[in-house]
């Protein structure tokens, strides 16, 4: 519907009010609480109360103590996003261009695995990658792993778990973009003697960029905050920031450290996203 067709009137405010109220109270205001908590004097507690001293030192301490989980979270998430992009692109391309009348069925199948619980799925990987499982046995047989080598508890397992769990977030936006591409443009590039690989990088890939950008963001952002994969598939060596925040946020920990870390993660992601969108040249997305 064109802009000019939109009705005017107070009804719109009545329709919007409940949603805006919920998001203001439980999404926007909590951020204010979070900023406040990240600046409290570290000595307080939930029982005795907190003193607001604009203690920026919380941030310094948080980074000093937890730079490793922070770095892990970003690195795992970036690696998983890259894997998702490759796997997701192949799948989305196949569904959009090669599946014919099976298109909608295949799309349902893409989402289907994700109707089983996230945790149950991840635990299922724990079983598949287990030390006495056939994957480890095969890898050892092929000498890809040493005799006492393992997959579970490694960086690889965590990245693989993340890539697996967030794959549909990549496939669906990619599919939406690739499905819209006019096939005649790709044929035209072939008619003009471009080989299929050049044709792909000069025609298909640029036209699918909006899907690539939204897919990578939808994968990277939740993966950076996730700690389920790092906990269930990793080891103490693979601690991520999400887990630190979770542990510090509860009464036993230091809520202001948790708040400072949440802010760092949030702002860090925001900055990366903005730089990335600028680089990808698709600012109209936001």
């Amino acid at each position: 519907m064109a802009d000019t067709d939109r009705r005017k009137g107070l009804t719109a405010y009545l329709l919007m009010a409940p949603a805006v109220l919920v998001l203001a109270l439980f999404f926007v205001i909590p951020f204010y609480s979070l900023v406040a908590a990240s600046l409290y004097e570290p000595g307080g507690s939930d029982k005795e109360g907190w003193e607001m001293t604009y203690h920026v030192g919380n941030y310094v301490d948080a980074v000093q103590d937890y730079w490793e989980p922070l770095w892990h979270a970003i690195a795992y998430s970036a690696a998983a996003t890259l894997i998702c992009l490759v796997l997701g692109y192949v799948l989305a391309y196949a569904i959009a261009f090669k599946s014919g009348r099976w298109k909608s069925l295949l799309l349902v199948l893409v989402i289907a695995p994700f109707f089983t619980s996230f945790l149950v799925r991840t635990l299922s990987w724990q079983l598949i990658l287990a030390d006495d499982g056939w994957i480890v046995d095969t890898f050892q047989f092929l000498h890809l792993l040493g005799d006492d080598g393992r997959l579970l508890g490694t960086h690889f397992a965590v990245v693989m778990g993340l890539a697996y769990n967030f794959l549909p977030f990549m496939v669906l936006p990619l599919f939406a973009s690739i499905d819209k591409i006019d096939h005649r443009l790709i044929e035209a590039s072939g008619d003009l003697y471009s080989n299929p690989v050049v044709g792909f990088f000069k025609v298909t890939w640029p036209l699918s960029l909006p899907g690539v950008v939204s897919g990578t963001l939808l994968t990277f952002i939740p993966a950076a905050g996730d700690y389920i994969n790092a906990e269930l598939l990793g080891s103490t060596e693979t601690n991520v920031i999400g887990n630190v925040i979770q542990l510090q946020a509860t009464d036993a920990g230091h809520p202001n450290t948790a708040a400072a870390l949440s802010m760092i993660l949030m702002v860090g992601i925001l900055v990366m996203v903005l730089v990335y969108i600028r680089k990808a040249g698709t600012e109209e997305l936001l």
Binding site: R7, F26, A36, S117, L265, I269
Partner: protein
Amino acid sequence: MAWLKERAVLVLGLAVLVYMFVPIFVVVLMSFNDPSTRNVYRFDGFTLDNWLNPCDDPAMCDSLGLSIRIGFLATAVATIIGTMAAFALVRWDFFGRSSSNVLIFLPMAAPEIVMGSSLLTLFVQGGFAGQLGFWTIFIAHVMFCLSFVVVTVRSRLAGMNDTLEQAASDLYATPSQTFWRVTFPLVLPGILGAALLSFSLSFDDFIITNLNSGSDVTFPMYVWGVARVGLPMQVNVVGTLMLVISLTIVLVGEVNSRRRAKALATR
């Protein structure tokens, strides 16, 4: 060879799809597992016991009950207020429309751990630290499901042209008749899709819930808790059931809309 070259992309795509189903296959298989000990987690023998006694561990069924109750309640509320907002955003022009769109978008772009910890901070600062439980989980779930409902219904509404509604009002239908007999049935598939999405998001959420649940235990939290001490096989029964139920709903919806499209085309 030529055959394979022609279909290389399709074959690779299907391989990715198979990869997506590998853990699901394990979940379904394990739901029929007869484990020799609780700590060793591998397929030892076939049994129907897990399916016949799903509540072998009552704590699991309690957590399942809590997740279902919260799922339904949060879905109902989020779907109603989200649908209202979607109508306002697509059909009305009002001051603050584009900032409302941004507000709706933000929760989908924020990492869960940040939303969860900030909500917990609010609850603690507001003096509700002792009351964490059902209602704080409910509030959190409505909050993060809402945006997904708005986006789903909004895209359904935006993709609809208004010729049928204009026809109804040309034929002297009152605005409320037009809405309930024409507009609403047309948007309904979008609303139902949004509700299904919302329920599965709520049912499956762990990170936000874990921070705001106090001593209450939802199903994902139960799984998290027992993951270390050894998982009862019934967890896989629940995983399989979730898959079967939601696939059935999706496929019935798909078949229905195809049938309706066919009926319209042959009329």
